[in-house]
Symmetry: C2
């Protein structure tokens, strides 16, 4: 009887154990499924956000496959031998997202290799004159000097902006050819193979990037400029609709999308600069002729960012204004100001939309009266306000004080953040250190 | 007599020609000298600005010299043969300015090579099963798939931030080993040589970068945080001295240095982000322990930039205020506001200097009353102002209108800049295009 009970207990235990296991397994599988689904969703989003990313990935695969043909076809391989590997490497490091970036890297790599090979062969010949023992010493001195000098030149801002990769490849090739010259008998052949295989790799990259679904940095830069103008217009349209609304002034605006739109403009500098650098390398394409004024886009971008930064100040003021519940003390003046703001926003937004359309279609901006209307509204408002000089003076001083008190609030936050840092990084206690110093002096 | 005159004429002409030549030569030499002196001066300035740049350049030269010893010493060379070249290449591409950046690139390169070699050897074995004809086809398919997928993965932001270089080296090594496997008989030896030579190159880089004059990204990030706090304090000290001065309010402030100091803080984001990425790779050094809270520096930096952006708005207000010549309409209130501004600036600046000192010395920030005094001055001012509700309401509305009219002025500049772009890029005339379209429709 007892043994039976034990057995049935064991059976129950075993069943429980199995059920438990199955449950654990199921939940683990479920978690895994969730992770995989989340990851795939993320990948799909990256592809949807810019489908050209998929095209670029496939183009890199294609270029690699093309270059590997050099290996598989025996006559081609026999021409270069093992050096074909440089063509493969070139394809991987030179293929970039935009045509301009690929061209920039490709040309940098080709010319830097060419120059370095010439110099390195010269260094080899000079070192050769010093005999068996002197050769490695002289080669080392050359490599040290050229490596140090070229590395230092990478700190020159003008050189860094356009030719940084070229200088790196110059150091690499010089060191490689100069050092190998001690062991390689056919140095000229070695150098020649390196230059030609790199040129072949660059040619394959340029073919893939130029003729199969080309992605132009210049086009992106052009679209970025138009997009920035649109975003500034969007902010002003939002302002206009707020001004024209009759309802309660104490509404909370903080969540409104239009009050955040300037952030994208403020953060566009890095992308704009790199697109501009690459656009300058690109040949004529689409509507962009030879010597298209790419630098002008940077100037326009700088002005847009300055405007966005004023909008940032404006947004914080608007949020405060809409939040506070003032007694209606001077309804007439307030109504007037509101109408002025509405007019300024409306016409400025229209003017910006016109500019954005002009940039997009590459047509001359239409001559409209929007900007003059907005400017007139602004100067009228200034004149009106200056009639009441006492108000104007106090207002300006009060604005400074009010902005300064904003700064004070932010510095309080900075103080908290620094204290958090001190705590996390376990800063020492100055009291203890000071008393230690005193004791030390008393000694 | 005639011939004599001609001769003397000729002589004079020749003398004139020679003098002319000498003059040209002198001026050309002078220009050359000026260019050279200017260039050398520029290089000297780059070196003076940060002497560690010279140290870094010499370290790269040293590392290259060290790695070239592998070539010159025969027993070392015989171990690896031509593959020693990978060590040289590794030194050039891995050596970066800071320890963190070098470590990040070195470890990325080593691990990516290791993983890629394993995968590529697996791909070779799979392709080998398909016979002589099937092998290149299957290898091409593998290279295409792996190349495309890995390239696409470089668009994932989290991967791009820390492992972008690793993924590139993964593609490079996989393509190289997989494609070579068609020709190389001793694939495992080839793969083994690549992994070990790269490891040796990385080891030489780490030795040079860690033990000879190490440059720590973490230290730079720490100094950047303290420097930003100091710059904010400098601005407020300038404000304070302006508030306490009794003389004319219509002074031009535009050239004052303290009104530009926030710009450096605003532009610190890119440098801060890259230093933070590299600092996370660095081992324990100096006062920085294991798991030092590097991300907290980014949070502090974001708050500092927000404060600097408020200061930008404040600076433009102050410039306008000091420029305008108001009648003294409400001297009592103005004096009060000025005193409040002075107090807020003084105490905030003191608090910031205290925080900067605490960060620099890594001691806990001293508990002072500065921040509470500044906050009290700010809230007192608000209370005072809110007693006059009518003024407050009009003031806030007028501030919004005034900021908006600044925006209008900036949009005018944007309009001009876009017109300049349209002119330089020869945008077409919409009128003509439109009439052309009309004609086309009429056809």
């Amino acid at each position: 009887m007892e043994s039976l009970t034990t057995e049935s207990n064991n059976n129950a235990d075993g069943g429980f154990f199995l059920a438990n296991c199955r449950e654990h397994l199921c939940s683990a599988l479920d978690r895994l499924r969730c992770t995989v689904v989340g990851f795939v969703g993320k990948l799909a989003k990256i592809a949807r956000d810019d489908p050209r990313r998929v095209a670029h990935s496939l183009k890199v695969g294609l270029a690699l496959t093309l270059v590997s043909v050099l290996y598989y076809v025996t006559p081609l391989f026999n021409g270069w031998g093992d050096s074909v590997i440089w063509a493969v490497i070139t394809v991987v490091v030179v293929m970039e997202f935009t045509v301009g970036a690929t061209l920039s890297r490709g040309l940098n790599r080709t010319f830097a290799t060419l120059v370095a090979v010439f110099l390195a062969v010269g260094a080899h010949m000079a070192a050769n004159l010093c005999g068996e023992n002197g050769e490695p010493i002289l080669l080392s001195v050359f490599v040290f000097l050229v490596g140090s000098a070229a590395t230092f030149s990478r700190f020159i801002p003008e050189l860094k902006a356009r030719y940084d990769y070229g200088v790196m490849i110059f150091i690499l090739t010089f060191a490689m050819v100069a050092v190998s010259s001690y062991r390689v008998d056919e140095l000229l052949e070695f150098a020649h193979e390196r230059v030609t295989t790199i040129a072949v790799g660059v040619a394959i990259c340029l073919f893939t990037t130029l003729f199969i679904f080309p992605i132009w940095a210049g086009e992106d830069l052009h679209k970025l400029a138009a997009g920035n103008l649109d975003k500034l217009a969007e902010f002003l349209e939002g302002m206009e609709s707020e001004c024209s609304r009759e309802n309660s002034p104490c509404e909370n605006l903080e969540g409104k999308a239009f009050l955040q739109v300037y952030n994208a403009v403020l953060n566009s500098k890095v992308r704009e600069d790199s697109l501009c650098t690459f656009a300058k390398w690109e040949p004529i394409h689409g509507k962009f002729r030879f010597r298209h004024p790419w630098s002008q886009y940077q100037k326009l971008g700088a002005l847009c960012r300055q405007c966005a930064s004023s909008m940032e100040a404006l947004a914080s003021c608007v949020v405060v204004l809409k939040k506070s519940q003032y007694p209606e003390a001077n309804p007439e003046l307030c109504l007037k100001i509101r109408a002025t703001c509405g007019a300024m926003s409306l016409h400025s937004a229209k003017a910006l939309r016109g500019l954005s359309l002009a940039v997009r279609t590459m047509t001359l901006p239409c001559q409209t009266n929007d900007m003059s209307t907005a400017t007139k509204a602004a100067s009228d408002f200034r004149t009106q306000l200056s009639e009441d000089a006492a108000l104007l003076q106090v207002m300006h001083a009060a604005v400074v004080a009010s902005l300064l008190s904003d700064v004070v609030i932010q510095i309080e936050r900075i103080t908290e953040s620094t204290s958090k840092l001190a705590q996390l990084a376990r800063f020492t206690n100055p009291e203890r250190t000071r008393s230690a110093v005193v004791i030390h002096i008393e000694d």
